[in-house]
């Protein structure tokens, strides 16, 4: 069986996917994950998940974020007001700008 592996670098951080291992059971999967994925990169915790248990929906199945103009739900659309008066609002807008830019890059990459 294949087990997908998610690594958390530091306590309090997110577990992000880092690869998979072949193993007959969860105990062995944890051991292999430790050896293959937790040895060099900083690791605080690993999750191993049986691959058949993972449900997937991808960009071929759906259009993430819809197909119509949804600019109304982005902070940067509201150009008549300025986010800089409050650091947390400005930070949120920066995060949204990054997400929007990355989204466009992915879309552009997918079409090429």
């Amino acid at each position: 069986m294949i087990w997908e592996v998610f690594r958390q670098e530091k306590p309090g951080g997110y577990h992000t996917h880092c690869g998979n291992v072949h193993a007959p059971d969860a105990e062995m999967a944890k051991l292999f994950a430790e050896v293959q994925h937790g040895r060099r990169k900083p690791t605080n915790s690993l999750w191993v998940v049986p691959q058949p248990e993972i449900a997937e929906v991808d960009a071929e199945d759906t259009t993430f974020g819809g197909t119509t103009d949804k600019s109304y739900r982005w902070a940067m659309t509201y150009t008549g007001v300025d986010a800089s008066f409050a650091e947390e609002v400005a930070e949120s807008q920066r995060e949204q700008e990054t997400a929007d830019r990355e989204r466009e890059e992915v879309t552009a990459g997918g079409n090429s």
Binding site: K70, A75, T77, Y78, V89, E91, Q93, E95
Partner: protein
């Protein structure tokens, strides 16, 4: 883990469901996160009618997206609260329906006019965001993670709220007058958003010692006033004479607490205010109306168990 160890180890995102946390911590965190989750839901219900009443298509779309976001935040937070093992999501939703679940003071008041929407959309959301940004450093990791996503989305809400405020503040004289009236109605409630002063706050000390919350009521209220009083003034809003707000030499503000109606605040806090019954009742009725959807989903989950993994919430 005993309480002393918890206090020693308290740090941003220090504790997760893997840790054996004492009941006192888990109860305090549940109370705090459940309150937050309930508030997201009740706020969404208050704003929902404005999807229909929005004056333009752009506003309608934005309001609809916002209400959807807030319900999503509620769901995220119930998950974070549930992970403490004190109450299930079903129990918390049930408590909200029966009137046992507590939620933010501002959401106990009716909001009927479009001109009132920036009071929630800008000032209350702005106050909430100030607080939520500090909770990214909460010691309960699932709560802090929920705040990452909530804060990511909230920037849109606050800017959209300010955009409505700007539009009304540069509108006709009649609009500006009604805006000022709405501001005067909502202002004391907004000040009370942060609760009573530190010396009267019941839960602060423990929550702070174990790192669940980062700043005190007073510090947060002050941080809010610092950023939002200039905004109100920028849009020509006159700050009501009461509650009296004094600027200290160091630039921080002191609110004369006795100018605020604390009897009303504590009645609201007990869900006993007239508006509390109305808002809880509205949500209860809506829940009843869509009961069949939950029943169908539950039945489906039961029958598909064993053949497929349970769907995520």
């Amino acid at each position: 883990m005993d309480i002393e160890t918890v206090k020693e180890r308290a740090a941003p995102r220090a504790f997760s469901p893997k840790d054996d946390m004492p009941e006192e911590y888990r109860k305090a965190a549940t109370r705090m996160i459940q309150f937050h989750a309930n508030s997201e839901i009740m706020g969404a219900y208050l704003e929902r009618p404005f999807i229909r009443q929005a004056p333009s298509l752009d506003r309608k779309l934005a309001f609809s997206a916002k209400v959807q976001d807030e319900i999503g935040h509620g769901q995220l937070l119930y998950r974070a609260a549930e992970s403490l093992g004190i109450k299930t999501r079903e129990e918390m939703l049930e408590e909200l329906a029966t009137g046992d679940g507590k939620f933010l003071n501002c959401f106990h008041y009716p909001m009927e006019e479009w001109v009132e929407t920036p009071m929630i959309g800008f000032f209350v959301d702005g106050a909430a965001m100030r607080r939520q940004a500090t909770l990214k450093r909460s010691s309960w990791e699932p709560y802090a993670h929920a705040m990452d996503k909530v804060c990511f989305e909230e920037g849109f809400h606050v800017k959209h709220g300010e955009d409505i405020l700007r539009e009304l503040a540069t509108g006709s004289r009649a609009e500006r007058e009604r805006l000022q009236e709405a501001f005067e109605t909502w202002w004391p409630r907004i000040i009370q958003f942060f609760g009573p002063t530190d010396d009267k706050s019941t839960h602060h000390d423990f929550a702070s010692e174990v790192g669940l919350k980062q700043l005190s009521n007073d510090e947060l209220r002050n941080a809010f006033l610092n950023a939002y009083i200039p905004k109100a003034e920028k849009y020509g809003l006159e700050i009501p004479e009461e509650p009296r707000i004094r600027k200290r030499d160091d630039g921080t503000y002191r609110v004369v607490e006795d100018d605020l109606d604390w009897d009303e605040f504590f009645t609201v806090a007990k869900n006993d205010y007239e508006g509390s019954h109305v808002q809880i009742g509205k949500r209860h009725d809506t829940q009843e109306a869509v009961e069949w959807v939950r029943t169908v989903l539950d039945e489906h989950e039961q029958t598909s168990m064993g053949t497929a993994p349970a769907a995520a919430d």
